[in-house]
């Protein structure tokens, strides 16, 4: 059995709030021992971490891949490489492929491709509705049996209230979460960016913040009604954070995530029609941005997900209104999130929890922890190393990053999956 020891590492385990320098030993793909007093066993491959951080590999709960159907944007292999380079050891893939993953054949295809890529762990959501079209329920039971990690229509909102009610009820039987893109479709239709002074100046049709707020308010009522588990993806508004905070204190089974662009950028970054800053939901105001950071810090926001949305040049080098929304994010998740730590907004362990243990828990995965007998999925990173993001160097097939040329601090040095080094820089 392969035996590997990571010595002289700052061992960080968010789940147990463990932070000490020591050694972690993995054998046969599992963690066998870790801590200050642990010595590297004889015969082990030694990786001297030289005091760098060693944490559970990141778990990214929201990733779009172009395979099957739009392989020019991203394949499962290129997404795997990109994830490994970003310190992500497991990700959950949205079902918005062509065809939509609304049946077991789609899940099996993803599983096979992931096995062939053999880099990081790839899980897939099943669609809530057939074709992710928001009308008739997909075969959620069969999908759950075949390994669907949860259910979502991905980039589409479940707009119909009755459909959402039934989805929440039905998914309960299988213990799965429903992940919503919380945006009222009729209010968002045709919108290009946040509605306000800047959209008026640029002559772009706006999406009111009310589109998110109304959808969350409605969904939370339905959660109350059904008791179904609900997860709101990529929050963008201050009121959204507030609604989730209240729902949690009322004891509802509700969680949420945010993606780095929403807490690192605002609508101002659209500037003169920068299509790389076009997202769905749109970037909001600076007040919203600050409220999201507060939500991450106080735990209202459970998870930070990359919301990786690869788009090729043809989809972005067009007028703003014609451009596809989305940002590639696998390789910038950690450094952009670390900005929050470096600015003093949140402690390191709590920040890491949002990208490891917490999303794993939402998805019911036994990942994201340093624990004996747990999978040796690890990221080793230099907390302070300064570097400049260079989109051209991304492993992702797509380069649509609003963070290109941004100076950051914190770099992935090594990524380990099941005790095997899958990335090293």
């Amino acid at each position: 059995m392969p035996l590997i020891a990571f010595t002289n590492a700052r061992l960080l385990d968010p789940a147990s709030q463990h932070d000490e320098t020591g050694t972690l030993v993995a054998e046969g793909g599992k963690i066998t021992a870790f801590g200050a007093g642990v010595a590297a066993p004889e015969g082990a491959q030694i990786v001297d971490c030289a005091g760098l951080c060693l944490a559970p590999g990141l778990v990214d709960m929201r990733v779009a891949v172009g395979e099957p159907g739009e392989e020019q944007r991203e394949t499962i292999l290129s997404a795997s490489r990109s994830a490994a380079a970003g310190g992500i050891t497991a990700f959950a893939m949205l079902p918005n492929t062509t065809p939509v993953i609304d049946g077991i054949a789609g899940l099996e295809f993803v599983a096979r491709r992931a096995r062939e890529a053999k880099l990081v762990k790839i899980f897939a959501y099943g669609a809530v509705t057939q074709g992710a079209a928001g009308r008739d329920l997909a075969e959620m039971g069969l999908l759950a049996e075949a390994g669907a990690i949860g259910f979502t229509d991905g980039t589409n909102a479940i707009g119909d209230a009755l459909t959402m009610r039934r989805a929440l009820s039905y998914a309960r039987a299988f213990g799965k979460v429903i992940v919503q893109h919380p945006e009222e479709p009729s209010l968002a239709a045709g919108g290009q960016m946040n509605e306000g002074e800047i959209s008026t100046r640029l002559g772009l049709s706006g999406i009111s913040r009310a589109a998110e707020i109304i959808m969350l308010e409605r969904d939370l009522r339905l959660v109350e009604l059904t008791g179904g588990r609900y997860h709101a993806a990529h929050l963008s508004t201050a009121e959204g954070v507030e609604l989730i905070r209240d729902a949690k204190s009322a004891g509802l089974p509700v969680t949420c995530d945010v993606a780095p662009p929403y807490f690192a950028l605002s609508e101002i970054d659209i500037g003169d029609y920068r299509t790389f800053a076009k997202l769905s939901p749109p970037l909001r105001t600076d007040d919203d941005r600050r409220a999201l950071i507060a939500g991450i810090a106080d735990g209202t926001i459970d998870a930070i997900a990359s919301d990786h949305a690869p788009q090729d040049q043809d989809a972005k080098r067009v007028p703003f209104a014609a451009a596809a929304p989305g940002v590639v994010g696998l390789e910038t998740l950690l450094p952009i999130a670390l900005e929050l730590y470096h600015k003093g907004a949140i402690g390191l362990l709590d920040l890491l929890a949002r990208m490891t243990f917490a999303p794993a828990k939402i998805l019911g995965l036994p990942l994201g922890q340093l624990k004996v007998d747990a999978a040796a999925d690890l990221v080793i990173f230099d907390l302070d190393r300064p570097w400049v993001i260079n989109a051209d160097a991304f492993r992702s097939k797509s380069k649509n990053s609003p963070f290109d040329k941004r100076p950051v601090a914190g770099a992935v040095v090594m990524t380990v999956v099941d005790g095997r080094i899958v990335h090293q820089s």
Binding site: G196, E197, T200, R201, L202, G203, L204, S208, Y273, F320
Partner: protein, 327 residues
């Protein structure tokens, strides 16, 4: 009247005018001095255009490509005449029959045309920001002839010239821009220009056609036409597109005319010498009554068309001066 001191072929502009922009994408961010430079030069071209021989040679040898992705007879013709009167070669690209219909992207089309070395691309496009996208890639000057609901800079300049020639000034005037503000690039360019020149700008329209936070652009917002017109010096009516009239933004043309149509009766609350403008084409009986539109003493509508050519000549001439500097 003497012929204007002929602007010549040299790179230097007449009378020490200063110009530094390579493109004209929008009025936002322009200084009062820049706006005044265009208007002053336009005045000279108004005179040139009234002569029997309307041609000069200032842009001899230059090539202007009119690239209109949206139909427009008026603006395209105006740019075409402007170019020809300055001695340039003008090409009208008919987009309907071009490769754009075959799926070629906007940028590819522009790069192809750019390779033929035009000096100016005059671009109209249905999407906001399209001229900016082109300006970042091509090495000629890009003139925005209207992009989506963003800006229409030459329209605002010709409106300003029409007002200035009749009123003698822009500063201190109260201008009411009325109608479909939400979808109007003309309104946005005029708000930037008139505000910069010290006019008091009002926007007037039904609430569904007033864009979010427009007050942050320094205008006063009215949803009642009578209040909005009170003591106005200039009443600028906007066109309401038919597809917006039938229940989408307003219930019907009839209802719109009842509350937002300009009639001579309504106009009584404005200043007695208030002037009426419209960027055309007009919907008579929807946003404006024929009696008002055709009142020679009050309507600037034909002045706007006439001065449009002069303003576009001035814009081309000013941009040409920076091309020489950069070559």
């Amino acid at each position: 009247m003497n012929a204007p001191s002929a602007p010549n072929d040299e790179a230097s502009l007449p009378d020490g005018l200063v110009w530094n922009r390579r493109h004209m994408l929008g009025i936002e961010g322009w200084s009062a001095a820049e706006i005044t430079a265009v208007l002053d030069l336009s005045d000279r071209y108004v005179e040139q255009n009234r002569r029997a021989d309307k041609r000069s040679t200032e842009l001899r040898g230059r090539t202007i490509m009119n690239l209109f992705f949206e139909d427009s007879t008026r603006t395209r013709t105006s740019f075409e005449l402007a170019g020809k009167r300055l001695g340039a070669d003008v090409l009208n690209m008919s987009v309907g029959s071009s490769s754009v219909k075959k799926g070629e992207s906007l940028l590819d089309t522009a790069m192809t045309l750019n390779a033929m070395r035009p000096d100016f691309l005059v671009v109209r496009h249905a999407q906001s920001g399209a001229p900016k996208l082109l300006a970042d890639k091509v090495n000629c000057s890009v003139l925005n002839a209207g992009d989506g609901t963003h800006e229409h800079p030459t329209q605002a300049l010709l409106d300003a010239l029409s007002i200035r020639r009749r009123k003698g000034r822009l500063e201190g005037l109260t201008v009411a821009i009325c109608g479909d503000i939400l979808h109007s690039r003309v309104a946005r360019s005029n708000i930037h220009l008139l505000g910069t020149m010290g006019a008091h700008v009002r926007v007037v329209g039904p609430p569904t056609l007033i864009p979010s936070s427009i007050d942050r652009m320094g205008v006063e917002v009215f949803t009642d036409l009578d209040e909005g017109l009170k003591d106005a010096d200039i009443v600028m009516m906007l066109r309401l597109q038919s597809e917006r009239m039938n229940g989408k933004f307003v219930p019907s043309p009839r209802e719109y005319f009842r509350f937002h149509g300009l009639t001579s009766e309504r106009l009584k609350v404005a200043k007695p010498d208030a002037l009426i403008m419209h960027p055309g084409p007009m919907n008579r009986g929807v946003e404006i009554d024929s009696e008002v539109a055709d009142d020679i003493g009050r309507s600037l509508i034909l002045d706007q068309v006439e001065f449009g050519v002069a303003v576009r000549m001035a814009c081309l001439r000013l941009l040409a001066s920076t091309q020489k500097q950069s070559n």
